[in-house]
Structure formats: structure tokens, C-alpha cells
């Protein structure tokens, strides 16, 4: 088991190292002279040369690579050309807000997907099952950025139930304590601000969760089908337990284990999907930060975002592995080969590439 964990950590490190190599390569293929860019538009030839030297760009490529890696390990992801601040500081400031959004989306995801999956399994072929399948079909086909706009149109413009965008209503100001709007509102003891923050969170969270719900619902459905046919459920029925108790206490509890794995991996995927959601809702976060960086051609900020999202990915995958080990004792003694993250990632990639209602 320890060996397995060490293996996963090493794999995570290799992935991160690869990402950094790729990041370095991206800097290299960027057209234009970074020294000129750093020195500014009106710099003289001497100033450009000075910038080249101070950036170490006159060094051989391999030396540049090692100094790049050295800086990254010290937490220096470069300086944003646009904000003139260290990229890591910028990201640290906006990341909590993205995590808030991801958490909210996750809550919606579980709240919708679990009952839907259970119902779909319990009454196969009936309304809930059909609904789950439709959702899967739509979730894999509707562009998330378009869904965002459609929901804005319906719930903010036509019905007026929810705010169009932003994180707080007009005239509400909060001191930035944690960077998470809802928590800051709670800390400031202002219930009105808290309500406003939650209201502003609903549409983006629903949008973000939309394409993920179907995957969880499908997982729950298929593991529920297995669980409902299992001997322990028949036994529970035979003891005269109520149907509710049989389904929820006995079948569902066992069916939830595969779900936790996929939920864990979805955290990283959702964080990635924020690039398509946050800007539309005018929320701060790593997604909108990255989009701005992309549009400003702020390469270091883009690479910094990729690296940070990559780190979150590697960490969540490791946590998923550990959780899997604790939930499934058979993995511990090595009698059962664990589903590696590699295959797990393929499952998660299914969100993107084939997350439709295909397999049962």
C-alpha cells in the first residue's frame, strides 16, 4: 500500500515536471523577443540588451531552463506584464473565489445527481431514468459558455429572479478577508451581503455543474443497480426493513464509493472549466484571470495559471487515491489492483470526450 502511494506521488511529480517543461517550451516558441517586451515599447537597444541580461536570456537554453525551474520551486512564476505583480500573488488572490464557485457547483452536482441516479436505478426505464439519460445527452453537447448566456437570459433578463453577473449587489462593499465572497460576508456579520453573495453564486454554479451532473448520476445509477441486486440487499429486505431503509442505508451507502472517486477528480475538471464560466458572470477567479491573461498575451500569467491548475489536479488525484484506499480495504493488501489515476483520468476525461448516456 505504501509502495502504491509512493508510486502515485512520483507519478504526480513527473506530471508536474512535464508541465513545467511544456511551460518552458511555450515561452520559447512565443513569437517576438521577450527582452524587448520586458524592456517596454520605447526601449533603446542598450535597454533591451540590459533586460536580456537581467532576464538571463543571453544564457544557453539549458541554463535558462534550470534557472526557470529553480525560480518555480521558490514559488516565483514570473511577473505579470499586465498587473506588474508576481503571478503567484495574483493567483493566490483570485483562487479562493474559484474554489468557492467549484464548491457550490459540487453541492448542486451531488444534490441533483445522487437522487437522480438512485431513482433512475430504482425505477429503470421510467421517467427519472429517461431524464438522467436526456441530461447526459445534453450535458455532453451543450457548450457551457452558451449555457451561461442562456441561463442569464432566462433567469436574469426575462424572469428577473437572479442577478445577471457580479459577485455582490450594488452598494455592498466587503473587506477582502478570505477572498471568498460568501465567507467574507458571513465574517462581516452582514446577512444581506451574505444573501446577495449566495444569489450571485447560483447561476454560475448551476452552469458549471451542468455537464458534470450526468456523469455522477450515471455512476450512481450503475453502482445502485449492482447494489440493489446484491445479496446484502436481499437479506436486508428479508429482515423486514422498510424499503426506504433498504435503498438508502444498505444499497446507497455501498453505491456511493465509486462516486467519491469521480467526484474528487471532477474538482480539478471544474476548476479548469471556470475559464469558460467566470468571465461571462464577471466573477473574479483563476478562470477569468487566465482568460484576461490570454487576451493580454500575458504569457507568464497564462503559464502560472496552467501550473497552478495542474498542481490542484495532481493533489486532488492523490487525495482521491488515498480515499479510495481507505474506502476499499481490498486495495490495501494488494489483492485487487487499484484503478490507477491514469485510467481514472480517462474516466474523468469522459466528461469532456464521451460523457454522454452511453454505457449503462
Amino acid at each position: 500500500m505504501i509502495r502504491y502511494l509512493v508510486q502515485r506521488v512520483v507519478l504526480g511529480a513527473v506530471v508536474l515536471l512535464g508541465l513545467l517543461v511544456m511551460a518552458f517550451a511555450m515561452v520559447q516558441i512565443l513569437p517576438g523577443d521577450p527582452a524587448r517586451a520586458a524592456a517596454g515599447r520605447n526601449a533603446t537597444q542598450e535597454q533591451i540588451e540590459a533586460a536580456r541580461q537581467s532576464l538571463g536570456l543571453d544564457q544557453p537554453l539549458i541554463a535558462q531552463f534550470f534557472s526557470f525551474m529553480g525560480r518555480v520551486f521558490q514559488g516565483d512564476l514570473g511577473t505579470s506584464v499586465f498587473t506588474h505583480r508576481p503571478v503567484l500573488e495574483d493567483i493566490a488572490q483570485v483562487l479562493p473565489s474559484s474554489l468557492e464557485l467549484v464548491l457550490a457547483a459540487m453541492i448542486i452536482n451531488i444534490a441533483v445527481a445522487v437522487p437522480l441516479g438512485v431513482l433512475a436505478a430504482y425505477r429503470r426505464g421510467r421517467a427519472a431514468d429517461v431524464a438522467a439519460r436526456m441530461l447526459a445527452l445534453l450535458g455532453a453537447a451543450v457548450p457551457v459558455f452558451w449555457l451561461a448566456l442562456m441561463l442569464q437570459m432566462l433567469f436574469a433578463v426575462v424572469l428577473g429572479w437572479l442577478p445577471l453577473y457580479g459577485q455582490l449587489g450594488f452598494g455592498i462593499y466587503l473587506t477582502d478577508i478570505t477572498g471568498v465572497t460568501t465567507i467574507d460576508a458571513m465574517l462581516s456579520g452582514d446577512p444581506y451581503a451574505f444573501g446577495s453573495a449566495v444569489f450571485h453564486l447560483i447561476l454560475p454554479a448551476v452552469t458549471l455543474s451542468a455537464s458534470f451532473i450526468a456523469v455522477i448520476a450515471r455512476t450512481v445509477r450503475s453502482s445502485m443497480i449492482t447494489a440493489l441486486d446484491a445479496d446484502f440487499v436481499t437479506l436486508a429486505r428479508a429482515t423486514g426493513a422498510s424499503e426506504w431503509r433498504v435503498v438508502v442505508r444498505h444499497a446507497l451507502r455501498n453505491a456511493l464509493i465509486p462516486m467519491t472517486t469521480i467526484l474528487g477528480m471532477q474538482i480539478g475538471w471544474m476548476l479548469g472549466a471556470t475559464v469558460l464560466v467566470e468571465s461571462t458572470f464577471n466573477r473574479k477567479g483563476i478562470g477569468s484571470y487566465m482568460v484576461n491573461a490570454v487576451l493580454q498575451n500575458d504569457l507568464y500569467a497564462v503559464i502560472g495559471s496552467i501550473v497552478v491548475i495542474g498542481i490542484v489536479f495532481v493533489i486532488t488525484n492523490l487525495v482521491v487515491d488515498v480515499v479510495q484506499l481507505t474506502l476499499n480495504p481490498r486495495l490495501r493488501d494488494g489483492t485487487v489492483r487499484p484503478k490507477t489515476s491514469a485510467s481514472g483520468q480517462l474516466v474523468a476525461r469522459g466528461l469532456e470526450s464521451s460523457g454522454k448516456g452511453a454505457g449503462a
Binding site: 455532453a140 459558455f145 448566456l149 442562456m150 479548469g272 472549466a273 461571462t280
Partner: protein, 285 residues
């Protein structure tokens, strides 16, 4: 007689009626026709700006209304089919070539080569492809071409893995062993015996991936690094209309519907081909 009875039972068991798949195939056929003849079918010039006609709601003259620059949304959506579908097609072709080549090399090459290729695929699979593609797209500069290259560069790892596992399986099949025993050359063995038998699964994957690739490409265009402004690429159209949530829903609705309908059709078709190819899936409920 019994076979017929079993067939009938199977057909009844099938979850979706074949009608749905047939509709999906018809839609795909129509989309291909639109992609080929779209600009000819378009009632107006998809690029012609006419500010006096800006943001007209759908009418008999402009079925899908006009956008903020007075361009006919129907014409643009029709013209966009070619751009979006061909960009998606090119990505899938590049992906297929890269994935099959590297996957085969990994499966048949020595351990070091295999290890290196597989670790690269780890990176590719470790992040959502839109995130990596954004990085590549920035490095390559904005434009549909960079978006296509960027998505291809992030999409092949899944294929390489799939090909690798299939080739490794096929390699030990009897007919391949027989070929080796007969002294068939390595290259000929790969080309004539191993690859053709590994590729069936690829067709299914490609069909299933059309939707996903299209969503990433249109997503990149929406963000602003893919197809650029006047282009009627569907994602770029949505981006251009994003400011008209309050006053021009039609300019927003139709390109998105086009993406969704295309994606659903290809996903249904992909599932159908998969179930057809793999009889074991037919019984899965």
C-alpha cells in the same frame, strides 16, 4: 427461426428506438451538406455589415434575425458549419495520425520509448484540454489555425493510449504470431495485420470525439484565441453576441443551438456505431 426470435428480443431490449439514431444520421448528413454548400444556401452574405439592419428580431426576411452588425444570423450559422466542422475534422485527423503513430511505437518499441511516450500522455491527460490548449494558443498567437494545432496537441494522448493497449493485445493474437512464424517483415506485419485490426475501435472514438473537440474549439473561439472577429465560426458568433443578452437573444440562441444539435447527433451516432460493433454492449441496460 430462433435467431430471428433472439434478434427481435434484442431489438425490443434496445434502449433507444433506432428512429432516434436514424434522425441523428440524417442530421449529420444535412450538416455535411450545409458545410459543403452552406455559403450557397445562405440567403445573405454572412460577412456583410449593415448597421441600419442591426439586431432585427426573427422575421420572414431574416428567419434567425440579424446580429449587432446587421448581419443575417441564418446565413452566418449556415456558413459557420463549414468552419466549425472542418476545424474539428482537421483536429481529429491530426490527432488520429499522432495518436496511432505514437501509440503503435509505444506498444511495439522498447521499454524506454514506451515509458517516455506514456509519461507525455500522462501530462496530456492530467489537465482539461482547454487549459493546455489555451497555453499553446497563446504561444502560437490567436487564430483558428493555432486553435486547431493547440487542440490537436492536447488531444492525441487519449488516442495514443487506446492504440497502445489495443496493439499490445493484437500483437499476441494467433494470426500475428503466425505471421511472425512465417517470417513476415516487421513493417508489413504492423501495416497489414496489426493496425487494421486495431483501428475499428478508433472509428467509434473519433465519432464520439467530434462533439467534444467541437466544444473545445468553439470554447477557444469564445474566449478569443480561436476564430477571429468577423468569422462566422459558431463559438466566435456566440462571443460576439454575448453583449446582447438583454436585446438580441436570437443572435445568441441559434449558433449555440447549432453546436448542441451537431454535438448530440454525433454522440448518438457514435453510440450507435459502438453498440453495433460490440454485441456485448447490446444487452447492457
Amino acid at each position: 427461426m430462433t435467431t430471428v426470435a433472439i434478434r427481435l428480443a434484442e431489438t425490443k431490449k434496445r434502449r433507444r428506438s433506432p428512429l432516434v439514431e436514424r434522425i441523428a444520421l440524417v442530421v449529420i448528413g444535412l450538416l455535411v451538406l450545409i458545410a459543403v454548400f452552406g455559403p450557397m444556401l445562405a440567403p445573405y452574405d454572412p460577412l456583410k455589415v449593415d448597421l441600419t439592419q442591426a439586431l432585427l428580431p426573427p422575421s420572414a426576411e431574416h428567419w434567425f434575425g440579424t446580429d449587432v452588425n446587421g448581419r443575417d444570423v441564418l446565413s452566418r450559422t449556415l456558413a459557420g458549419a463549414r468552419i466549425t466542422l472542418s476545424a474539428t475534422g482537421i483536429v481529429l485527423i491530426i490527432t488520429l495520425v499522432l495518436g496511432v503513430t505514437l501509440g503503435t511505437i509505444a506498444a511495439l518499441g522498447n521499454r524506454v520509448v514506451d515509458e517516455v511516450i506514456m509519461r507525455i500522455t500522462d501530462i496530456g491527460l492530467a489537465l482539461p484540454s482547454i487549459i493546455l490548449a489555451l497555453g499553446f494558443a497563446v504561444a502560437l498567437g490567436p487564430g483558428l489555425q493555432s486553435a486547431v494545432i493547440a487542440v490537436s496537441l492536447t488531444w492525441w494522448p487519449g488516442y495514443a493510449r487506446l492504440v497502445r493497449s489495443v496493439v499490445r493485445e493484437v500483437r499476441h493474437a494467433e494470426y500475428v504470431e503466425a505471421g511472425i512464424a512465417l517470417g513476415v517483415g516487421r513493417w508489413r506485419l504492423i501495416r497489414k495485420h496489426i493496425l487494421p485490426n486495431s483501428l475499428d475501435i478508433m472509428y467509434v472514438q473519433v465519432t464520439l470525439d467530434v462533439a467534444a473537440v467541437m466544444l473545445v474549439i468553439s470554447g477557444l473561439s469564445f474566449i478569443g484565441v480561436g476564430a477571429q472577429v468577423p468569422s462566422p465560426e459558431w463559438g466566435a458568433m456566440i462571443a460576439a453576441a454575448a453583449g446582447n443578452v438583454t436585446n438580441g437573444w436570437w443572435s445568441l440562441l441559434f449558433p449555440g443551438l447549432a453546436i448542441a444539435i451537431t454535438a448530440i447527433s454525433f454522440n448518438l451516432a457514435g453510440d450507435w456505431i459502438r453498440v453495433k460493433q460490440d454485441p456485448t454492449l447490446r444487452e447492457a441496460g
